[in-house]
């Protein structure tokens, strides 16, 4: 049994501890790898999890759009055009932003 998170590494208020149960042979291998990388076991597992989550975001093609509460029910409005922007450039930028923000 190993414990990760606040209990074993850089304890902070914003981290949560979890318990992970592993077969002894895997635990031994993790310990060796972590030691070779000069990490704690918790730090090594944390790194693996973050790497996997990043890979999932890549694979799932996730774009995060944080929306202020004031705009939650606000439809995507019209893009304000720059003074020096061509018709083509403006149309392209408007379409790109619409797509990035989840519009049609």
């Amino acid at each position: 049994m190993m414990q990760t998170g606040a209990m074993t590494e850089n304890a902070s208020q914003s981290r949560t501890g979890i318990t992970v149960r592993l077969p002894p042979e895997i635990r031994d291998r993790i310990q060796h790898v972590a030691a070779a990388e000069r990490r704690s076991i918790a730090g090594y597992l944390h790194m693996l999890i973050e790497r996997d989550l990043r890979a999932r975001d890549e694979a799932e093609r996730v774009i995060h759009v944080f929306t202020a509460p004031e705009l939650q029910d606000e439809p995507l409005g019209t893009l304000v055009r720059e003074d020096d922007e061509t018709d083509e450039g403006y149309a392209s930028r408007a379409a790109t932003l619409r797509a990035l923000l989840g519009g049609q």
């Binding site: 759009v65 929306t67 509460p69 004031e70 606000e74 019209t78 990035l100």
Partner: protein
């Protein structure tokens, strides 16, 4: 709500209370001013909103032969042109915020919190990267706050 167009425009690097998300609430202003890039300004029914892209100091991590689609690195020379230290921009992390003091803490300062402005070439480069991101990601999923929408 601002009813006149904000002084912040496409191409501006501006100090914002970018909503970082966990452990902070993703739909609330972040805890400290942070530089974001303005991709554009849109009208709303009652005023305007800014479309911001996330930036962070230093190169993209972990280092590798390439960066993910949508990430642009600014090395020492590129950052110096903007009077900044090396940083990267992530066009996959965006925010829609109104031009208000809670989201733009220096909105009432003479510079409105704008710390640098991208020239035409850089704006075009960033827009091209955003276009490529849209083109190559046919199945974009959007996360609003903590809710993932298909």
């Amino acid at each position: 709500v601002t009813v006149v167009p904000p002084a912040i425009r496409q191409g501006d690097f501006v100090l914002t209370n970018f909503p970082f998300g966990p452990p902070d609430r993703p739909d609330r202003p972040g805890p400290a001013p942070h530089v974001a890039y303005c991709l554009g300004v849109k009208t709303t029914r009652t005023g305007f909103e800014l479309i911001l892209a996330y930036t962070s100091s230093g190169p993209w991590r972990p280092p590798g032969p390439s960066v993910p689609l949508g990430v642009i690195e600014f090395d020492r020379a590129a950052a110096r042109a903007l009077n900044q230290k090396p940083f990267h921009m992530d066009l996959r992390v965006l925010a829609r915020v109104p031009p208000s003091l809670s989201w733009l803490p220096r909105l009432e300062a003479p510079d409105c919190g704008v710390i640098a402005r991208a020239d035409r070439a850089l704006r075009d480069r960033i827009n091209a990267a955003a276009e490529q991101l849209v083109r190559r990601r046919a199945e974009v999923k959007i996360a609003i706050g903590s809710t993932l929408l298909d």
